[in-house]
């Protein structure tokens, strides 16, 4: 029968400093990206329409001369802030307008220029500002809630702090990657980030539990936890990667962005759990406890 095994890593070859250095450097880089983004654009992440307010029209060109991004720009009397085509759907374009544009007017302009209006999303600026506040509240709320649960589960500062720090990286690094890959923060990606908060601590809890509460040496415990944990994370990662690819091919943008953000997050989680969290646990087990 075919089978693959999780490779065993000889952690004794690396010092805690070496192990923690890589994820911490990546985290610092991610924070730098967010800071630079903030300085350049006024927000740490590029916000989607649901948060900034505005109107987005997905239109399908019914004639050959309408099937170009320039033609789409010409079709509206309101200035178009962005046009993009959808690769998996031929002759389909997404035109974005700033807030204040009237959705019904835009629809009728598109129709009279020879386009079919496939979908329309319009959010007012006030509504968007409110969603922004709620999304931030939601992210903060669930992160704090997760941290509290972790502290209740382990009741010791260093291991719990290690889990929370690694979860923090699991959120921040994907957000920075979103900027790099040009994925906007939408309701869908907020959902993905929240899911990451829940998902990513699973493997950390597993690792910490094996090291602190099971018999056997530190390295035996780590090996066993890794075997299970890596399988878990890789399974989810594959599921999400497949979802992202398939949804992209089908042109379902919401599922694509949720899938991509989770792929970023779960990959980050592998690094954070087995380098950052592990080195902090090892420090705690061998040096921290005796202090």
């Amino acid at each position: 029968m075919p089978s693959f095994d999780v490779p065993e890593v000889d952690y004794t070859r690396y010092s805690n400093r070496q192990l923690a250095g890589v994820p911490l450097a990546v985290l610092a880089l991610a924070l730098l990206v967010l800071a630079a983004w903030y300085v350049l654009n006024g927000t740490p992440v590029s916000l989607g329409l649901e948060f900034t307010g505005g109107t987005e029209l997905t239109i399908h060109a019914t004639s050959a001369q309408a099937a170009s991004q320039d033609a789409v720009r010409q079709a509206f009397s309101t200035p178009v802030s962005a046009v993009r085509s959808i690769p998996s759907r031929p002759d389909t374009y997404v035109a974005t307008f700033g807030s204040g544009a009237d959705a019904s007017t835009l629809q009728s302009q598109a129709r009279s220029a020879g386009y079919e209006v496939v979908s329309t999303t319009s959010t007012s600026a006030t509504f968007g500002a409110q969603s922004q506040r709620f999304a931030l509240l939601g992210l903060l709320g669930s992160f704090v809630g997760m941290a509290i649960i972790v502290f209740v589960l382990f009741r010791t500062a260093v291991p719990s702090g290690a889990v929370v720090l690694s979860a923090f990286g699991d959120i921040v690094i994907p957000v920075a990657l979103m900027n790099v890959f040009g994925i906007q923060l939408s309701l869908g990606t907020v959902a993905a980030l929240l899911m990451l908060i829940g998902y990513s601590v699973d493997s950390d809890i597993l690792l910490t539990n094996h090291v602190l509460r099971r018999s056997g040496s530190f390295y035996e415990s780590v090996d066993r936890a890794m075997k299970t944990g890596v399988t878990m994370t890789v399974t989810s990662l594959v599921a999400m990667a497949v979802m992202a690819v398939v949804a992209y091919a089908f042109g379902i943008e919401l599922l694509t962005s949720i899938g991509l953000v989770l792929v970023f997050g779960l990959a980050t989680d592998l690094m954070n759990t087995y380098m950052l969290n592990l080195s902090l646990l090892r420090w705690y087990k061998f040096e921290g406890v005796s202090r």
């Binding site: 019904s104 409110q130 959902a191 929240l194 829940g198 089908f250 949720i258």
Partner: protein
Amino acid sequence: MVDVRSNWRVALLVVLVLGSLGALFVPGAGPVVGSAPAENATAGGGPTNLQYGLQLSGGTRVRAPVVGLTAENVTLPSDAGERSTIATTIADDLDNVSSADVRLRLADSAGGEDTVEVFANVTPSQFRSALGAAGLDAESATVRDGVTAATRDEIVETLSNKVNSLGFSGAQVSVQSTVGGDAHYIVVEVPNADLSEVRDLVSSRGQVAVLAYHPANASAQTNDTVLTNEDIRRVSDARMQQGSFGSVPVVPITLTEEGGASFAEAMQRYGYTSSAGISNCQYPNGTPGDEYCLITTRDSEVVGTYGMGETLASSIERGDFQTTNSFVLQTNSMSEARQIAIDLRAGALPASLDIESGDVYQIDASLAERFKPLSFLTGLIAALAVSLVVYFRYGRAKIAAPMLVTALSEVVILLGFSSLAGLSLNLSHIAGFIAVIGTGVDDLVIIADEVTTEQVSSDRVFQSRFRKAFWIIGGAAATTIVAMSPLAVLSLGDLRGFAIVTILGVLVGVLLTRPAYGDILRYLLTDDN
């Protein structure tokens, strides 16, 4: 022989899966909760009893706050006449506000307090000064943005009536409030409707009135409202009626007793029933000072003008009209007549919606219908990918096969639940189902690894290992639930559905399916080993 008592979890799982399949596929086993979603079943269609939201069936959703201000901490007189004077005074003091835009509510028996609402774009300070002008204590009154809950309920009811009378099936109208209740939105979801249709529906108030346009003196005309929505008891269908000037579109109505009496009294007082008044209307070309017209208006727009008929005039004079109270509203076109019949039946919206401060979502049915199978297919392919990974990792059908069956049964149970609860599925729910497969398999991996690290010799060893695995699963489940719960309460668009599905999935998983998987593994690994 399988002992049912020690495998009750597996038995329960099987029962639930069968029940869910029944809820999904048996025709007519639709939603059991609420009556509004039941109408949605027609919008869902397809081979299952699942219902689909706009994203997967097509249509328009408009979400908007109500235009208006509310004054609280006021004391209103108990006399209805005095209250109506106050309302008129407030309306007169404000620009572009009619007395229909001012609503005074007395504290009801269920608690609450006296309130004054104005349903127009006025500033709080303007409203405050109008309250003062009407003799209310403007100093102590607190003026806030928005309207009362009673008004919102009225709007929801009126809008539901309207969408239903327009023949849109599966439409839903509801109130969405933010946490803390500082903002409320009216949400109107209409499957298979275009944005402009829904916009017209929610932005027009549908206030129908009949005005008497009659001489004020020898050379000038004046307007007086003689009938409004409130005076009408029954509305018949719009139709063409043969009149003295050919066939005209009409809406036959029956007035309330008071409405009929006051209408008859007004007609006599203004001189419509006199010989000068009968059939004397050339609006808008007549001579000022010698015109007796009745004008039907809808939201202050003229939709019909006509003179007093001879039959009606004599019936009013004889007093017959006051017993039948039947009247015929005339309009200029049949479409206006139909619109008026709908407005009269559904009632007028107390206030209009501020679409500019809300949001709009519209998706073409053809695209949405395409998303439906594709999104399910996406989920299926993701599940298949999970199966392959699990199979390659374990290479043992005894462990991998029940793992997949268990994870999929979680999704089946959730789908069955959605079908029974009448949940309208959107893309975010499908993402939630995929997330459930993901977390589910994660936990099953933990259980499998935990119990198979060494040869399982006895039931007792199995139990202790399973309990250890469960500690981790419980912890992980708690974090997922906590991480998702803000979304379940914050009104962040469709994310609520996603959060609820994920939380339910985790609960079903931890309480039922994952322990059941443990039982299955125990049976497979300890029995006759």
